[in-house]
Symmetry: C2
Subunit: 353 residues, 2 copies
């Protein structure tokens, strides 16, 4: 087992990340939870209930709440339902809330932990690769709204994350690809060695660790996303808008993969990225089933983008790259406004791929 301490510039936002094999059945995990005072409540995605949730809840003497799986449960309504359940079981401010599941579950449960009694202790046990790399690390919590994805939320890092590599490695191929999409994104914006490794089908463990370390380096410098951390949104301006158009029936990883490819193209069209580098990028994304959502129209996409959180002074802003492994700083804003006219050729290209 490896323990990675995430220590941002704001000390109260610290997290301990435990990563290794067979962690969920380890002595260390039991010892960790036995040290938590007060009530323990696991919220688990029902898709994994039989596999791990029942066993874990018995081992650590925790109450168990199950929720449906899928992006459509990531709403204010589920948040209220969960909080009512916590009130009804008499959960106080000394409760530890444990999220067991994918990114939807950890985002949702993290949000509940951040507002229940003005914040209770939170531990994440991600069970998908994208849930570990994307959602669990960095403390962002969120729910979706009809206006767009992740538009309500907080920055509330968990006390600890337990990442069991066995669970992550028994994921179906499709789930592995979803995780790879976020790993590749970190490669594109921050660490070209990730990209090299992925290109040569390097070992998945190494890829995961490199991606995690890259992400931690970014969020430690800017935990509240006031500048540098924005680069983690590469591929997400387009990706989130596509998910909104698809009514969240498109997996986040697929949306991010398509988003990265399209925002890579945009980086080239705007003259920042060489054609040669864009071709390298394009070559890797052949692994992904990149389809526009059935409900796609350009009007709907632009409407969804209008609610992007990076928007400022009425303009849509994109993170852009000039090399594989380097996002442009734009004088500390780490994103730049792209006017509709500049976007047109990129949208044409995306629609006709």
């Amino acid at each position: 087992m490896k323990k990675i301490c995430i220590r941002p510039s704001i000390p109260s936002l610290s997290t301990d990340l435990y990563i290794g094999e067979d962690l969920l059945t380890s002595e260390q995990l039991l010892r960790f939870f036995n040290q938590c005072k007060g009530k323990k409540v696991i919220v688990a995605d029902c898709a994994i209930k039989n596999l791990y949730a029942m066993k874990l809840s018995q081992q650590i003497c925790a109450e168990l709440i199950t929720i449906q799986s899928g992006e459509h449960v990531k709403t204010q309504k589920t948040v209220e339902h969960l909080m009512d359940a916590l009130f009804q079981m008499g959960a106080g401010k000394d409760t530890t809330l444990i999220a067991l599941g994918g990114g939807v579950t950890t985002d949702l449960v993290g949000f509940v932990a951040s507002i229940y009694m003005r914040g209770i202790s939170l531990v994440l046990v991600p069970t998908t690769l994208i849930g570990l790399v994307d959602a669990a690390i960095g403390g962002k919590t969120a729910v979706n709204t009809p206006f767009g994805k992740n538009l309500i939320g907080t920055i509330y890092p968990p006390k600890a994350i337990w990442a069991d590599l066995n669970i992550l490695q028994t994921l179906p191929e499709k789930e592995q690809l979803n995780g790879l999409a976020e790993i590749l994104k970190i490669g594109l914006i921050y660490d070209s060695s990730i990209w090299e490794l992925a290109k040569h089908n390097g070992h998945m463990h190494t890829l995961i660790l490199k991606a995690i370390q890259g992400k931690i380096a970014i969020i430690e410098q800017d935990p509240m996303e006031q500048a540098l951390r924005r680069i983690l949104n590469f591929g997400h301006t387009m990706g989130h808008a596509l998910e909104t158009v698809a009514h969240y029936e498109m997996p986040h990883g697929e949306a991010v993969a398509l988003g990265c490819l399209v925002e890579g193209y945009l980086s080239m069209r705007l003259g920042y990225l060489s054609e040669k580098n864009f071709e390298k990028i394009q070559a890797i994304y052949h692994r992904f089933p990149l389809q526009l959502p059935k409900a796609y129209t350009r009007t709907k996409l632009l409407e969804a983008m209008a609610h992007d959180k990076k928007r400022a002074f009425g303009e849509i802003r994109f993170v852009l790259i000039d090399e594989i492994g380097h996002a442009l700083p734009f004088e500390g804003a780490y994103c730049r406004a792209v006017i509709p006219h500049e976007l047109e050729s990129t949208l044409n290209w995306m629609e006709n791929r």
Copy 2:
């Protein structure tokens, strides 16, 4: 005008408090809001719409949303209604949200600002004395639930607070008393000079400033309420439970006044506070119309207390005092468990007053 900088140990929780006469029509205020980039949105309690909200919104070019007044609007439903309004007017992450009203409005709007797009800029303009002393300073935001008061919320200090003493001084007598209840509480737990001044009907300005300075000294040491800040809950374990029993139809100030008196009595019964000091406390509270809510029963009160946020390991905990001006530290917990049996004589006394 006086500018008081609130600088807790966590720098990102800083607030600038501007306090003085005629601030709402001052050049300084206009200059301050002209420096805010992005959209400005005022959320005002409809009770004060005609007085200040329209004028302010025109002066600083802000959009205006009005909400009903009263504790019953401080719910998740109003939060969703406000967020929908913000999405519909295209408010982005660069929006400044301005709360104009009493404590209900600032708590509610503060909560919205803390979760809308994971946090947008917040400015408070309290229009009641209790709203200034109690709700505006310290960054607590909240909504009520059927299970109890302020059970959902965040700690999210505003960027700035503008406190216009003219508005605060034209409040009706009843509103002044509500504010006085919180001022006296700070006197009881932290600063006996407040108490001396109040006893001799000292100048209201001086009382307000002393209470503000006392509160700031406490929250600067412990912004996240992990220890010392708990003393600000004196009178509130009982007070909040009374409000819950009254279905929030009891003014917060009245509930806190009665709560402080009763928790003072409890401090005496448990042997911490002398009878002589308790009599002094009792003498001042004759100014307040201290009535139990019509719906009061002991069972309902105990049920409401069971959801108190200070509760730990299944026990109800109270902040207690041993002197006028000093709360007991209890080895850094700043509150102690009181078992039902110990509470009984205090409840008997309260019911038979």
